[in-house]
Amino acid sequence: MIVSEVTRPAPLVQVHKVSKHFGEDETRVDALRDVSLEVSPGQVVALLGPSGSGKTTLLNVIGCILEPSSGRIILDGEVVYDGRWLRSDLRRLRLEKVGFIFQFHNLLPFLNSTDNVAVVLNLAGYAAAEAKRRAVELLDYLDVAHRRDAMPASLSGGEAQRVAIARALANHPRIILADEPTAALDSQRAGIVMDLLRKVAAEQDAAILAVTHDEKIFDRFDRIFHLRDGALETETSNVFG
């Protein structure tokens, strides 16, 4: 561990003393208090904590969906937040750097599997044919190519989640944020999805942060952060990591 600490490449995600509160005075909720963490390429990291501890808030802050109250966020070497957003086009930033996986797959119901993946590439400026080709490639990578023409409503939970992961990976993001990605899946499917995420992290040198309650998959993470009342309590390094 100490050896790898030295040779570890520059972290992809750096969160430095980030706080976030909602409301003021009596209604004030401190969702995050001085949270600092770093995630390096290739790492799969879990965020653990009781309900209301700030896990989703932390993910949203890292994904530039939610503006922190203070602190500093560096994504892939670029300082994106330092007391204020340093970029005006946060959606573009997300398109370039961040992939999201949701608890419920959130596929667009009016597009088939291939197009749900291709739409991200279209937004990123790929030509239609190229977007489609890469989408099918990704579906194949995630073992759902046989469902490429299916509409989301007809996919099983596991298939839908894998299509959603394909979408999250489409534009080669190096940061993947997942909010309870396996909560809707049975333990076998959850295991498959986690193995896939590990494969992505390893093969694409990506950093993966996943919120989870699911004890069955703890062994699939390199590191585990515990949140309580908005503060980072402990970090467990996983023996399997």
Binding site: E96, F100, F102, N106, P109, F110, D115, L123
Partner: protein
């Protein structure tokens, strides 16, 4: 990849149903405009049919259509002698109701002098009146057949010719008879008391009254000069053809115009509100998808495009369907419905404008959506 099109295709049934509902609404708006145009056209048919230049009526009235006008039968000879008048004809106008084969029929009876201005302009089947008594030319809308006999007053008239599209401003089909027949009808159908007085010769009028004299004026003489000459008789008033058309549109049609105009305006407003509501709920139903799109990096332009394109698709499709519907069924309306391309275009422009403005409401909603709402369970 066009997201608007994909979404519509995915919810095609719902989209078509919405369009269909909208098309009915827009069809009603379009038919209201058409009914108004038809009303004006109907009102002007009778004035235009004789194809004359000057109308002479009773002084102090705006006859013969807007107000009743009675002048002596010999007025025609006096007018015919005026300088510049090429031909003049005496005419009568009256509404009568009769029963025929068990049905109540209402006609607008025009009496005219054979061979003089005032008769039907175009006979679409049969012939014009040839004998001076008991023949009539009827409009197709009266649903009478050639050769059919119909009882008017004490006499039976034979239909010898048919016209097309000749109706009074009230929508009653027009029938033409000779002046003499019409004067007799006027006498027979007058209230009994008046009839007795006329017969005794004690009433101011006699049976030889007419409602107007119509005149052709030589192209070298301005119609206005004939009008001025005719007005020298104290008991007569005169107008040009344009003046007569103006009287009709301003007095007879004006109230109907306001009525229908107001109704059309209300309908348009209702349509606008409904379109806005549809677009708003359409956006509401898509908020989660819109949040997802924002999350995966879609720009505002993409999202505005999605909403606007669907709004326009709905508006244009709904309008086209409505226009098609009304064009198909317009001939089944009891009164004439005139669809003018410029009215259609104007309505289409209004619909598109309404769609764009109303989708603004949805767009506002969509742009405010927090991408984080896509994350939650």
């Amino acid at each position: 990849m066009n997201l608007a099109y994909r979404d519509i295709r995915h919810n095609l049934g719902r989209f078509l149903l919405t369009c269909f509902g909208l098309s009915l609404l827009l069809g009603v708006v379009l038919s209201m405009i058409g009914i108004y145009r038809g009303l004006v056209e109907d009102a002007l048919t009778l004035v235009r049919t004789p194809g004359v230049d000057v109308w002479v009526v009773e002084s102090g009235t705006r006859g013969p259509f807007a107000e009743s006008s009675r002048i002596p039968g010999d007025t025609r000879e006096a007018i015919a002698r005026l300088q510049g008048v090429e031909a003049a004809g005496a005419v009568t106008y009256q509404s009568i109701e009769t029963s025929h084969k068990g049905n109540k029929l209402r006609f607008y009876v025009v009496g005219y002098e054979l061979g003089r201005p005032g008769g039907p302009d175009q006979i679409v089947s049969g012939r014009t009146i040839g004998r001076s008594r008991y023949e009539m030319v009827a409009d197709r809308r009266a649903r009478l057949a050639l050769g059919e006999g119909i009882q008017l007053g004490r006499d039976t008239f034979t239909v010898v010719g048919l016209t097309d599209g000749q109706v009074s401003s009230g929508g009653d089909p027009v029938v033409y008879v000779t002046l003499r027949d019409s004067q007799e009808l006027q006498f027979e159908l007058a209230p009994p008391a008046a009839r007795r007085e006329i017969a005794r010769g004690t009433a101011p009028g006699n049976t030889d009254t007419i409602n107007a004299v119509v005149a052709h004026v030589s192209p070298n003489v301005p119609a206005d000069s004939v009008v001025i000459s005719a007005r020298r008789w104290k008991h007569l008033a005169a107008t040009t053809q344009a003046g007569q058309e103006h009287i009709l549109t301003s007095s007879v049609v004006e109230r109907a115009r306001k009525q229908i105009g107001l109704f059309t305006a209300i309908l348009l407003m209702v349509s606008a509100v409904i379109i806005a509501l549809i677009l708003y709920t359409m956006t509401m139903d898509k908020l989660r998808e819109i949040a997802t799109l924002k999350l995966i990096g879609a720009s505002d332009r993409t999202i505005i495009g999605l909403i606007l394109q669907q709004a326009l698709a709905m508006g244009i499709f709904g309008f086209a369907l409505g226009a098609l519907l009304i064009t198909t069924i317009k001939d089944f309306f009891p009164r004439r419905v005139v669809l003018q391309p410029e009215d259609g275009l104007a309505l289409a422009a209004v619909v598109i404008l309404v769609c764009v403005v109303s989708s603004g409401l949805g767009v506002r909603l969509a742009l405010k959506v927090d991408p984080a709402t896509a994350l939650g369970g």
